[in-house]
Symmetry: C2
Subunit: 235 residues, 2 copies
DNA sequence: GTTTGATGTGGAAATTGTACACAATTATGC
DNA sequence: GCATAATTGTGTACAATTTCCACATCAAAC
C-alpha cells in the first residue's frame, strides 16, 4: 500500500459539548473519563475517530456510545490542535456541539451511563483544553441563537412562551421585555399555539406552543434577530 | 514513551482557501500540486501539519511557503474528514480561509511561486474535495460579510466607496442602491475620508478612504447588517 | 463650452424596534 | 366565598432604521 512518505500521523479525537435545558437552567453534560491519563476526571464526551468513519459518523457514534443519544442536533464547532493539549500523545481534537431536551433523555443518561448534567456556571475543572472548548461552544451558541431559531432544539415538543423567554434570558444573562419578546417570536411564524395549557408554574397557566417545522426549515438560515439591543450584550 | 493503545493515527493536513479582490472581481488563489497523486492538477494551498506546530502555525507556514504571504487574515473554516477524501491514505483536512489584497502581493506570488489567481466563477477542477471546501468558504464569506466588516481585509489601505460597493455587489451577485450603501457604510464610523482622490475610473474622481482601525477592532463582533434585504439573497 | 460618465448627496414613507402598564386568570388561605 | 398573590397575556406611542427614489457636481475629452 502506497502512503505519503516522511509525514507524521496523529491521533484525531472528537469531543462533544452537549447542552441541555431543563426548563429553568442551561446545563452541560459531562462524563468521568474512563481511562488514563486523567481517569475519573470530568471530561467532555470524546473518542478517537476510527479508520473507516467520517467525522460526523464519529461524533454520532461517540454520542450514542456514551449517552445513548441519537438523532439530536449536532454541529461541528472547531478543531483544536495545540501540540501539547494531550500530555500522552499529540491528538487533534475536533469539537462538536449538541443541543438536546434534557427531559427527553434524562432517564437513559442517568441509568445506563455515568454522564451527569452540570449547571453551566458550575462546571467542574475539566481535562486538557476542554474548558476552552466549552467556552468556544458557549460563544457560538450565543452567537447563533441571536440570529437563528436554534434554541428550539433544547426545548420539548410542547413548550410555553415564558419557558422560551427563560431560555433566552439564561443564555444571554439578561432580561427581555416579555411583550416585545412574545410579539417578536410570534411574528416569525415559527410557533403554533396549542389548545392546552401548562399549569405547573402559574395559576393561570400558559399556553403550550409547538414548533412549525416547515417554517423552521425555511427560515433557519435567515437572520431573525431574536435578541434585542445586541450591542449591549456579550456575544 | 507511553502512547494510546490500539488507535489509528491519521495524517492531518491544512488547506487554505485564499480569496483576493483586484478592484473588479473576487478571485481565488490556486497552485499546481507538486507531488503525486494528482501532481500538476490545480489545488488549494495545502500541507501536512508537523509534529510540533499548532494548527494556526501550520496554516501560516503553508501560506508563507507556497505564496510568501505573511500576516494576512486567516480563519479556521471547517474540518473535512470523509474517509476516502484522499485516495492514497486517509487524511483529515482542516480548511482555513484567508482574505488578501491581491495587488499588495501580486508580484511575489507570480514571481517566486507557481500560484495563480482565478476568477471565482472560472475555477478549474480541483483535486479531492477542494471544490467543496471552496463552496463552504464562499458561503462563510457571504455569511460573515453580511454582518461584520470582514471585506476590508480584501481592500488596499486606500480605497473608494464605489470600489467597496463593487466588492459587496460581487460577493452577493446583487446590486445595491449607492445612496443607501454609502450612508450605511459611513454611519458605521469605519471609514476615514482622505484628501486625495482616485482618478482612474472617472473624470470627477472618487475620494479615497482608509479604515479606522480602532473602530474596526471595536465593532468587528457587532452585527452591522451591511447587506440590504438579506432575505432576498442567497447566503 | 458642450458632452459625458462616474461621483456624491437628501428627504419622504414604510418598517422595525423599543419603552412602558394594566387587565385576566385561578389556586390558596382566610 | 372572597381577597390575595403569582403568573400570563396584550396595546400603544415614540424612536430608530431601512427603503425608495432623482438630481446636482465634477473634470476630462472633444
Amino acid at each position: 500500500m502506497i502512503r505519503y512518505f516522511g509525514q507524521t500521523r496523529i491521533l484525531v479525537a472528537v469531543d462533544c459539548i452537549i447542552f441541555g435545558f431543563d426548563g429553568d437552567h442551561l446545563k452541560l453534560l459531562l462524563i468521568q473519563r474512563g481511562f488514563e491519563p486523567e481517569a475519573k476526571k470530568w471530561s467532555l464526551m470524546g473518542g478517537f475517530i476510527q479508520p473507516e468513519e467520517s467525522l460526523a459518523d464519529a461524533s454520532n457514534r461517540i454520542l450514542k456510545e456514551l449517552t445513548g443519544l441519537e438523532g439530536v442536533y449536532l454541529e461541528q464547532l472547531k478543531c483544536f490542535g495545540a501540540p501539547e493539549r494531550d500530555p500522552i500523545e499529540r491528538t487533534i481534537g475536533i469539537a462538536y456541539f449538541s443541543l438536546i431536551d434534557i427531559n427527553k433523555y434524562q432517564k437513559q443518561i442517568n441509568d445506563k451511563y455515568h454522564a451527569e448534567w452540570f449547571l453551566l456556571n458550575e462546571v467542574p475543572k475539566l481535562i486538557f483544553d476542554h474548558e476552552e472548548m466549552v467556552e468556544t461552544a458557549k460563544r457560538q451558541l450565543r452567537y447563533k441563537a441571536a440570529l437563528h431559531p436554534i434554541l428550539f432544539e433544547l426545548l420539548p415538543e410542547k413548550f410555553t412562551i415564558p419557558q422560551l423567554q427563560n431560555l433566552y434570558e439564561g443564555i444571554y444573562a439578561a432580561t427581555f421585555d416579555k411583550r416585545n419578546f412574545s410579539r417578536k417570536l410570534l411574528s416569525t411564524g415559527l410557533l403554533i399555539r396549542q389548545k392546552d395549557k401548562h399549569k405547573e408554574n402559574s395559576k393561570k397557566g400558559a399556553f403550550y406552543y409547538t414548533l412549525n417545522k416547515t417554517q423552521y426549515k425555511d427560515k433557519f438560515q435567515s437572520f431573525l434577530n431574536f435578541v434585542p439591543n445586541p450591542e449591549s450584550l456579550i456575544l
